[in-house]
């Protein structure tokens, strides 16, 4: 990430959002259909299921320079693949605590449940995550530079 951009006051963070295809990605679409406005910071990556998202992927996003990460899936019980988000929930709970333990700021890595009918909710989450990341400023800790 070029520092010039980062030092600017109107710095717009880049946040990688891993969204499950069936709920959260659809929720993001619905936000669009309903014209709920939110900051242009998300870079959405469509994955089949929140259960597809691994710790490696989240770390690699940070390593690549993401200022924040959002992983969002179906509400527990609604998983299109029955139980994917239940496993995800355990992986993420443990990972999030762990990343914060080693000093990654709370708010860098975020998780949410958003259903296909929650367009407004999606916009809310997008705003919330963006403002959290903006407060923290550009990511540095795990960003690979050379």
């Amino acid at each position: 990430m070029n520092d010039k951009a980062k030092n600017q006051k109107d710095w717009e963070p880049k946040i990688i959002a891993f969204l499950c295809n069936w709920c959260s990605y659809a929720g993001a679409d619905l936000a669009g259909v309903s014209r709920y406005q939110y900051p242009p910071s998300l870079r959405i990556v469509r994955v089949p299921c929140s259960g597809r998202v691994s710790a490696n992927m989240i770390l690699d996003a940070l390593r690549s320079g993401a200022d924040g990460v959002l992983v969002s899936g179906c509400h527990p019980g609604d998983c299109h693949y029955i139980s994917g988000n239940y496993y995800a929930r355990r992986r993420f709970a443990v990972l999030k605590n762990f990343l914060e333990f080693i000093g990654i700021e709370p708010g860098r890595v975020n998780f949410s449940w958003i259903s296909a009918s929650e367009g407004e909710q999606f916009a809310e989450v997008a705003k919330e995550v963006t403002s959290r990341v903006k407060k923290l400023g550009p990511a540095r800790h795990l960003v690979k530079e050379f």
């Binding site: 770390l59 355990r90 999030k96 080693i102 000093g103 990654i104 795990l142």
Partner: protein, 347 residues
């Protein structure tokens, strides 16, 4: 009057010799002493007479479970990947096991790395192992040429050095906070089971860091690992790390750079630890093996703490109990989920 460890050594030799002589096992995995004080040599006794070289003391710090799967495999007839498994029972291997080692063996059984039937486990209820680095600190890194062990003390000698050290003071951190010193699976025991230990502050080291600010935690983490030379002793000493290709060696995608640059080192240690989540028994091999004195054990300890807090399980307590990250409950905690905290606010 022999010390406790001396009598364990005697019994171990007898049992090993018997197992080898009677042909119950093709080999017995234990420790023998080496050329450097306070460093023990994992040792495979293959002949009955080898048994006499077995030794047990407070410096058997590397987890023997780490050696089991490959050792067992070495006794299988060579076969191509898709050949059917050989007929009839395969040779067994005997092994000494303390609490944490045995729990790692449980995990290895759960993860299909070995069959319980193929190991004869000689259980030893652990009195805790000594941290060589603590001893060195105690003598201010003076040259040590010999260490004589009593039940509760160490007599340390070197050029112009002779000092008696209280054993408990130099016991490894993981052993000091160990709750389950007894083997959970074994075929024979040496000595008595001592039962779970009641440790009030088993996660003290972790909590101290949890209480720091995010900034200070990062400071702690980076300075803890900055001396890492990426030799992977921690990984290779770990009985849980048996991937044919470690994520470190993956190049497509390259999860982590291989140099000593801080980010690469950090990501290596994060993922190495995370891969042990719910599986680590806090045996301390990683830390004991590290040539640079990095306390990476604190990372896995943190994971152990959270898995216990969140899901109420500890690794390797029983072969039946599923590994926490490959199972779930409908009502697992999820207050870390943003949208759930929203709900909280709305209420």
């Amino acid at each position: 009057m022999p010390t406790k460890n001396e009598s364990i050594t005697q019994e171990l030799r007898q049992k090993a010799r018997h197992l080898l002589e009677s042909g119950q096992v093709a080999a017995f995995l234990g420790y023998t002493s080496g050329s450097v004080p306070m460093v023990m040599k994992p040792f495979v006794a293959r002949k009955p007479e080898d048994a006499e070289r077995l030794e047990w003391n407070s410096f058997c710090v590397l987890n023997l479970a780490n050696y089991l799967p490959p050792l067992l495999r070495s006794f299988e007839p060579p076969r191509r990947p898709n050949d059917p498994p050989p007929e009839g029972p395969l040779p067994k291997v005997g092994v000494a096991a303390t609490g944490c080692w045995s729990r790692n063996m449980v995990v290895q059984v759960q993860e299909n790395q070995m069959e319980r039937e193929r190991v004869v486990i000689i259980g030893i209820s652990s009195r805790g192992m000594v941290d060589r680095k603590k001893v060195l600190n105690a003598v201010n890194h003076a040259e040590i040429t010999s260490v004589k062990e009593e039940d509760n003390s160490l007599l340390v000698k070197g050029p112009g050095l002779e000092e008696e050290i209280n054993r408990w003071d130099v016991i490894r951190d993981n052993c000091q906070t160990c709750v389950h010193p007894d083997p959970v699976i074994f075929d024979e025991m040496i000595g008595q089971l001592q039962g779970d230990r009641d440790i009030q502050d088993r996660f003290r080291q972790v909590e101290e860091i949890e209480n720091l600010s995010a900034q200070d935690r990062w400071q702690w983490f980076t300075s803890e690992i900055d001396s890492c030379i990426r030799c992977y002793a921690c990984r290779n000493a770990c009985p849980l790390c048996y991937c044919p290709t470690c994520f470190v060696d993956d190049s497509r995608p390259q999860w982590v750079g291989k140099s000593r640059e801080p980010v690469d080192t950090a990501i290596f240690h994060i993922l190495r630890a995370y891969h042990c989540a719910g599986r680590c028994t806090d045996c301390g091999s990683c830390e004991s093996a590290c040539p640079m004195g990095i306390r990476m054990r604190i990372l896995t300890k943190k994971l152990q703490k959270d898995v216990l807090d969140l899901y109420g399980t500890e690794a390797g307590m029983s072969i039946q109990q599923p590994l926490p990250l490959s199972t779930y409950k409908m009502d697992d905690p999820q207050d870390f989920v943003l949208t759930e905290s929203f709900k909280g606010e709305k209420k």
